[in-house]
């Protein structure tokens, strides 16, 4: 009996040590480079500029009120977010549809918690872009969502995240022109956002974000 107790204690100590390693593992931090000042930047405001949001029922956070989400087992770990993005003049300039799904490349040792994030981004009178991004949500989960939302810790205030973690070289998202003047062009993108409000009591979250696009300097220049 004593042996079993010692073995169990050892397992718990070992698991806790591994959990600490995972929590502080620097390999799972986002490593996307700083956006370049010449990038074209579109920005958004959540929830103010959300056109629609549907979440798979399997990824609803515990305690969330039951909503009508994606219930089919093939898509119950996905999400669909539609939002308006503003241009440099702070006026609405684009509409994006983001199809999201948990990524099979998620790895708590090497890459973090990855979400496959596919954007269809239309800028009226210019065309449509397709963005393929791997977004690492682990820093947000471990620094903010888990401690504040689930463990009731006080929120330390606005927090900045740059979730883009690939699949392009140096951890940038891959952009492909789909229609209009963007057709046939390729480029990269980086997303960052600032969490401005998180209130578990009222189940509210607010953030402002930016999408930095680089798609052929002569085709898509800053401030156009």
């Amino acid at each position: 009996m004593k042996v079993v107790f010692v073995a169990l204690l050892g397992l718990i100590v070992g698991a806790a040590a591994a959990g600490t390693v995972i929590y502080f593992n620097p390999l799972t931090e986002s490593r996307a480079p700083e956006p370049d000042s010449s990038d074209r930047t579109l920005h958004y405001d959540l929830p103010g500029e959300v056109l629609g949001f549907t979440l798979g029922e399997h990824v609803l956070p515990p305690g969330t009120a039951r909503i009508e989400g994606f219930w089919e087992e093939t898509i119950d770990r996905t999400a669909l977010l539609s939002l308006v993005l503003d241009g440099a003049d702070d006026k609405p300039a684009a509409v994006a549809s983001r199809l999201l799904a948990g990524s099979a490349a998620t790895d708590f040792l090497l890459s973090g918690v990855l979400v496959s994030d596919y954007w269809l981004l239309t800028i009226p009178n210019e065309g449509t872009l397709f963005l393929r991004a791997d977004s690492n949500v682990w820093p947000f989960l471990k620094q903010t969502l888990l401690p504040v939302w689930f463990f009731g810790r006080p929120w330390a205030g606005p927090a900045d995240y740059r979730p883009t973690a690939g699949p392009g070289e140096e951890g940038v998202a891959v952009v492909m022109g789909a229609t209009g003047r963007f057709a046939g062009l390729e480029g990269t993108a980086i997303e960052n956002y600032r969490l401005t409000d998180l209130d578990p009591a009222s189940r509210s979250v607010a953030a402002v974000g930016e999408l930095h696009l680089r798609l052929g300097a002569s085709q898509i220049a800053a401030g156009e």
Partner: protein, 217 residues
């Protein structure tokens, strides 16, 4: 006793790290792919959207007509965009056996060179595809329905087929993909078969996306 504790600590430590590395944390349910072999090479796969059940939301300007009915659930565009010719639609996607297998977004817009359509299809267990084509004429579905006898404000039943990406000009292109769809090249057609419109303007029918792809060089 001491060695038991040390071995248990090591087991706990290695076990949790191994789980963090090897466990598939997002196991998406996968149904068998309903692909067919095409006679002249490549593989064919059909994706189906049933209206109105599979429509998640639609957002667009008034020129979008019946494709943005009040019942579609989409939010309104801000005034700065509401004047632009733009139509954003979101759907669930089924395979040819009628099983829901993914979600999709369809964007239609205009630019200096004309109109353009882009589809983003996400099948979580397999990856994503980008389909592009020249866009249909504004109000194409409404025009076809009116020719078949539909009038606004009243219910209509019948059958109208509208090819928004027809197969006669090979205009619809499978432009990009990820994961299982990575490196595929090919064509697609998009056909809307409308069998009814309710008195509140809700479309009934199916959208068929037929893809023919092959491994790129």
């Amino acid at each position: 006793m001491k060695s038991t504790f040390v071995v248990a600590v090591l087991l706990g430590f290695v076990g949790v790290l191994a789980a963090g590395h090897f466990v598939p944390w997002f196991p998406h349910v996968r149904l068998p792919s309903k692909t067919t072999v095409v006679a002249n090479g490549g593989r064919g796969e059909q994706f189906i959207i049933r209206l109105p059940a599979d429509r998640i939301a639609a957002t667009g300007t008034s020129s979008a007509g019946l494709r943005v009915p009040n019942a579609a659930g989409g939010a309104s565009l801000p005034p700065d965009l509401a004047a632009q010719p733009l139509l954003v639609e979101h759907f669930k996607v089924r395979d040819s056996s009628n099983n829901v297998i993914g979600i999709a977004a369809r964007h239609w817009s205009t630019d200096a060179s004309g109109t353009g359509t882009a589809w983003s299809l996400l099948i979580p267990s397999r990856g994503a595809m980008l389909l592009t084509a020249p866009g249909e004429a504004r109000g194409a579905l409404d025009s076809a329905l009116q020719k078949a006898g539909y009038s606004a404000g009243s219910a209509w039943n019948g059958e109208v087929k509208v090819a928004l990406a027809p197969d006669n000009d090979n205009a619809g292109v499978v432009a990009a993909g990820s994961d299982e769809f990575s490196g595929l090249e090919g064509r697609y057609t998009e056909v809307w078969t409308l069998t009814g419109v309710t008195d509140v303007g809700e479309l009934r029918g199916t959208i068929e996306l037929n893809t023919v792809t092959r491994r790129g060089t």
